[in-house]
């Protein structure tokens, strides 16, 4: 039986990818940020899963306004890092896990979540920056990755409650897969940031840290927080944080198991326009 071993949460700021690719990680501006992921890279080496289920959002890369799926699961054998206008990131191709992805799609749809199934999708910084932060700069990513894209570009995005429930359905789906696989689920995006208008540059350190506290200790309560609170308090793009609730919903304690262990917590301002948050939770 496949099992979810841990969940990882991290921001996916594109400038972080550029800093890695342009060898700027040692610069004074970036050094404190990358220091916060040193533990995580070692943890990742010590706890390499068989598959990563990676929840992210596409930023007008694979999906234009032609098709806007709310939840899209990547079932392809591989996914190419996208050219977002600055040229593709020089990172390895993302190898999928079509068998597990198709199994999860079937199970979750039968569980009333109407996913869009995607067999061709280039993946942008939303997916590749978290991989770089957790895995460094390898020749190949350490394991297959199932990309799971959430619409947080066009409002309304899915509610926190819906995301949290979806996470629970994903856990059930993983646990009904026959192969013995260790699966990590990652929730990415956030934290507070606003990229538009006169309010661009908004950061809310207090709200972000309260979100982290509550995501760890009271995720069901956090799942009830409405969109407008995210937008008003954490900026128009801070709404990406609902994606963290998908990963959190997939942890065992939500289904009556023991509380997870907090292995790592990190918060830093700024990365370009954005507050960076990061957690690692292990199932017990």
């Amino acid at each position: 039986m496949a099992k979810i071993s841990a969940s990882v949460y991290t921001s996916h700021v594109p400038a972080i990818g550029a800093a890695i690719d342009l060898k700027k990680t040692g610069e004074a501006y970036w050094q404190p940020l990358f220091a916060g992921y040193e533990y995580s890279k070692q943890w990742m080496k010590d706890n390499t899963p068989d598959v990563i289920f990676l929840v992210f959002n596409d930023h007008a890369t694979a999906f234009s306004l032609d098709i806007i799926p709310t939840f899209a699961i990547g079932t392809a054998a591989e996914f190419t890092p996208a050219d977002e206008g600055w040229g593709p990131r020089p990172v390895p191709k993302v190898i999928g896990h079509p068998e597990l992805a198709s199994h999860i799609a079937q199970s979750v749809i039968q569980d009333d979540f109407d996913l869009t199934i995607v067999n061709r999708m280039d993946v942008d910084h939303g997916l590749t920056v978290p991989l770089s932060l957790m895995c460094g700069e390898p020749q190949a990513w350490p394991c297959p990755v199932i990309p799971f894209a959430v619409n947080v570009v066009q409002y309304p995005v899915p509610s926190g409650r819906r995301c949290f429930q979806l996470g629970q359905a994903i856990r059930r789906a993983v646990e009904s897969f026959d192969q013995d696989l260790k699966v990590q689920i990652w929730g990415t995006g956030g934290m507070s940031h606003q990229l538009q208008g006169a309010r661009a540059g908004l950061i809310n350190r207090e709200w972000d840290n309260a979100f982290l506290d509550r995501l760890i200790a009271d995720p069901a309560g956090q799942a009830e927080v409405s969109h407008i609170d995210y937008v008003r308090e954490a900026g128009s793009e801070g709404i990406e944080l609902v994606m963290w609730l998908i990963a959190r919903g997939a942890m065992s304690d939500i289904a009556g198991g023991p509380a997870p262990t907090l292995k790592h917590r990190f918060y830093h301002v700024p990365a370009s326009n954005t507050a960076v948050g990061h957690l690692i939770l292990e199932n017990n």
Partner: protein, 147 residues
Amino acid sequence: MALNKPYQDIPGTIIFDAEQSRKGYWLNQFCMSLMKAENRARFKADERAYLDEWAMTEEQKQAVLARDLNWCMRTGGNIYFLAKIGATDGLSFQQMAGSMTGMTEAEYRDMMIKGGRSPEGNRYLGEDGDAQPQHQPQGAAGKNKDR
């Protein structure tokens, strides 16, 4: 019955909802076309001619030619799509975001290094924070505007 849009009382913020998306469909699809290198080259060679290939409004075309991202957003642009214009111009996301505040690049970068813009006074229209309409443009541009 009208849709619930509780986000219209936030200063300096346009939420990209279905209505904005409908208004901005061709503007955003034009932006999307700039992900191809050959289209970027054609746009740079003759911006007006390239824009005229799209079913955009004249106002949207003017907003793009002026590189006024706030104006683009009011006419239905979404920042992730508009970012393709910035990429074509060789701008970073921070330069693009900063351009919407009236601050210089250095002023905006400094604000971020100091912890970013505070939410205080910037949650609701009618408060007195730096993102409120009465305080635009921000930075030195705002200080000099009455001279």
